[in-house]
């Protein structure tokens, strides 16, 4: 009997600047599904004064040849200006924002607040029985925080997916 095998893959962070036109997000997301590429996270927002250009950050994974194809396929789209592979380009910053709701009383509530302080999470909403923490940082920092909160009454998590930028004075 035949079995389907998967090639080993690596994680890459791509930033894509695009014309902010109708359907562009569907075009890019659809390209990933149509060609069988993976999207781990995707963020998009317009970044120019006249709302003409958006920046998309996609975290993907795949074998190196597939990552190269993803880039080439993205560059082929007419509204795409530029594609950067931060993972290839070198040292870069990745940041993500999360909102984490924790409900609890007594010792758990105190412990949650203390850990939040260690992680430099901000309390953006509170009731006598709950907090919403706002936490920014690298994705693994948020992962660790969420794991700790599980024991302390985690209710829900919302994450933005990462945005990234190359380190140093020049543009990505």
């Amino acid at each position: 009997m035949m079995k389907i095998t998967q090639a080993a893959s690596e994680r890459h962070v791509l930033t894509i600047t695009v014309d902010n036109e109708a359907g562009i997000l569907a075009k890019i997301a659809g390209l990933f599904t149509a060609r069988g590429y993976n999207i781990d996270s995707l963020t998009v927002a317009d970044i120019s004064e006249n709302h003409a250009v958006s920046r998309i950050t996609i975290v993907t994974h795949g074998p190196p040849a597939v990552i190269d194809q993803i880039r080439a396929q993205l560059e082929r789209l007419v509204p795409v200006h530029k594609v950067n592979d931060l993972t290839e380009d070198g040292p870069h910053v990745e940041r993500e924002l999360a909102l984490i709701k924790v409900a609890g009383k007594g010792e758990n509530r105190v412990e949650a607040l203390r850990i939040a302080d260690l992680f430099r999470a901000k309390v953006v909403d509170t009731t006598t029985a709950s907090f919403i923490f706002e936490l920014t940082g690298a994705p693994d920092k948020i992962d660790s925080f969420v794991v700790l909160m599980r024991e302390l009454g985690l209710v829900e998590v919302g994450r933005t997916g990462i945005v990234g930028m190359i380190r140093g004075g020049s543009a990505t």
Partner: protein
């Protein structure tokens, strides 16, 4: 000068400005304003097809045979969805099309209106680019950009979806070209250091091969001339994909024939044994490469392509050169300069050894017409006319590629990438319109031809003398062949049952019908087809169970070809079956 005009009128004026001669279309509710603007319009000829798929394929045939973009006009909903197959076909084969689709009025979009379909969503991944125009003021610039995108870089279909209210509303029309930002500028010139390295590799090769594809045709006739020039300088043998046939003359001593699944023994062995491969405007399609890990294992691979995403997609190459085929060939010729050609006699002697296999030989049959023989006779009797040949998809298509030599670019129209049955008849119609006075032949199978048989009426209406030459074996021949070779002859649903009488059908549409039952009738039938001043269907009854060889079975290497007379096992393992 500028004045207020309706969106429909701006569209028509913009098409005229682009030099559009023909629009292939079919009217419907959501394009009525455009059809009204076309009424009495003498600068553009509208060709009324019988089905929107026919419109798209006819536009492809026109584009492929003339080098100019084909224009399609269809209504919303079913008009657009019917055209999708042709759009996807053009996308795979890089054919420049501009498709105008009507859409329900902007206020109705998204409400499941009558004849509403998400045309932009549906065509997103089978178009090079697409637009929904919501303001008639954007139309002129959009159309201008659409033609630029369709025809430059790697060509392809571009779709413009225009809601009905946008066709009726007015905007300022300017006589001058619309002001727009140029956001599409493909790289045409190869990097000079890469070109120099490529020439160096080629000059030092002991066993070089040119592997050329549809990109050479797309680049324009000059690319074919330059290919011949570079080949003459280097002496390297040439093979081509299905899409690239005609770029290099088939009667040339260094022509190896087509490569790939149904390519010649010498082409596939030359690819396998080459030390330097120059791939020009081809994309290492699975039908060409066979088993990837055994594909041309010893060669240094140079890949010239205008589309960066074609590089390293399936086969990793050593030297990619991104640029237009014609421009890069010109650069290579300049760098080659006055170098003498290498002595390739040892390599050519090996190739002659493979040629001696005579992989295209086939047995003549006592009682039936061998389909290969029918194609050979068709070629022999028509070659003086230098016909333009289109095909449908299947065995007859491969036989045409093998036995009907094409010596010039733009004279071979076939659906390569998508493999669309029903392509050939409408493509022949488009080609005939673009090439009045030429002999245009659709080499067809009895199954494929029925996929767009309704277009017989289009040819009748416009008095187009296209010839349809059907190799009628009463089977979906290629399906039957695969079932024979890989599914132990379990012929599941591949018999062409309840066939029409093609001669009577031809006559019903005002065509001439000719039936050929035996070899004795073959030449006279073909001659009668050529001599008839009007459209003709030839129903050529050929051997029913002939197989198309040579063949590289799915999942096999170039060196594992099946030739005529080989014993073929009736089964295949699951891994091989799973390959396309």
């Amino acid at each position: 000068m500028s004045e207020e005009r309706s969106g429909a009128n701006i569209l028509v004026e913009s098409l005229v400005r682009q030099g559009v001669e023909f629009v292939f279309g079919y009217p419907g509710g959501a394009v009525l304003p455009i059809y009204d603007a076309l009424f009495g319009e003498e600068r553009i000829r509208h060709i009324l097809v019988r089905h929107e798929a026919g419109a798209a394929h006819a536009a492809e045939g026109y584009a492929r045979s003339t080098g100019k973009p084909g224009v399609v006009l269809v209504t919303s909903g079913p008009g657009a969805t019917n055209a999708v197959t042709g759009i996807a076909d053009a996308f795979m084969d890089s054919i420049p099309l501009v498709i105008i689709t009507g859409q329900v009025p902007t206020a109705i979009i998204g409400t499941d209106g009558f004849q509403e379909a998400d045309t932009i969503g549906i065509t997103r991944h089978c178009c090079k680019h697409n637009y929904l125009v919501k303001d008639p003021a954007d139309l002129a610039a959009t159309i201008d950009e659409a033609f630029q995108i369709a025809t430059t870089g790697r060509p392809g279909p571009v779709l413009i979806d225009i809601p009905k209210d946008v066709q009726i509303a007015s905007a300022l029309w300017h006589d001058t070209l619309p002001q727009r930002r140029n956001r599409y500028s493909p790289q045409t010139e190869g990097a000079s250091e890469d070109v120099a390295r490529a020439v160096e590799l080629l000059a030092n090769a002991k066993a070089p091969v040119f592997y050329t594809g549809g990109g050479v045709i797309n680049s324009g006739p000059r690319a074919s001339a330059l290919l011949r020039e570079l080949q003459a300088l280097t002496g390297a043998p040439v093979t081509s994909t299905l899409m690239g046939l005609g770029a290099f003359p088939a009667d040339h001593a260094d022509w190896l024939g087509m490569l790939g699944m149904h390519g010649t023994y010498e082409a596939n062995w030359a690819m396998n044994q080459a030390d330097v491969m120059v791939c020009i405007g081809a994309r290492f399609d699975d039908r060409v490469t066979g088993r990837l890990d055994a594909f041309s294992p010893h060669s240094t691979k140079i890949h010239i392509d205008i589309d960066r995403s074609s590089i390293n997609k399936t086969v990793t190459v050593d030297l990619p050169i991104i640029g237009d085929c014609a421009r890069v060939l010109e650069q290579m010729i300049a760098v080659w300069g006055k170098r003498p050609a290498q002595d390739l006699s040892a390599w050519k002697a090996r190739i002659d050894g493979w040629r001696a296999k005579k992989s295209l030989s086939y047995p003549r049959l006592a009682r039936e017409i061998a389909p290969q023989y029918a194609i050979e006779r068709l070629y022999a009797l028509t070659q003086a006319h230098r016909p333009i040949v289109s095909t449908e998809v299947g065995q007859h298509q491969m036989w045409a590629a093998q036995y009907f030599p094409i010596n010039q670019p733009n004279e071979w129209l076939t659906s390569g990438g998508l493999g669309t049955m029903g392509y050939g008849l409408p493509a022949a119609i488009g080609a005939q319109l673009g090439n009045p006075g030429r002999l245009v032949i659709d080499i067809a199978g009895e199954a494929s031809i029925q996929m767009n048989i309704q277009e017989l009426g289009t040819a009748t209406q416009y008095r187009l003398p296209v010839k349809v030459f059907i190799l009628n074996n009463e089977w979906m021949g290629m399906v039957r062949q695969w079932q024979e070779l890989t599914y132990e002859s379990r012929y599941s649903n591949s018999y062409s049952d309840s066939l029409p009488d093609f001669v009577v059908l031809a006559e019903a549409y005002g065509w001439k019908g000719i039936r050929i039952n035996s070899e004795a009738e073959l030449d006279a039938g073909i001659q009668a087809m050529i001599d008839h001043d009007g459209p003709v269907i030839v129903d050529c009854r050929v051997a029913k169970e002939a197989n198309c060889f040579p063949m590289i079975p799915s999942g096999a290497a170039h060196t594992d070809m099946i030739l005529f007379g080989d014993n073929v096992a009736g089964t295949m393992d699951d891994e091989a079956k799973a390959l396309v």
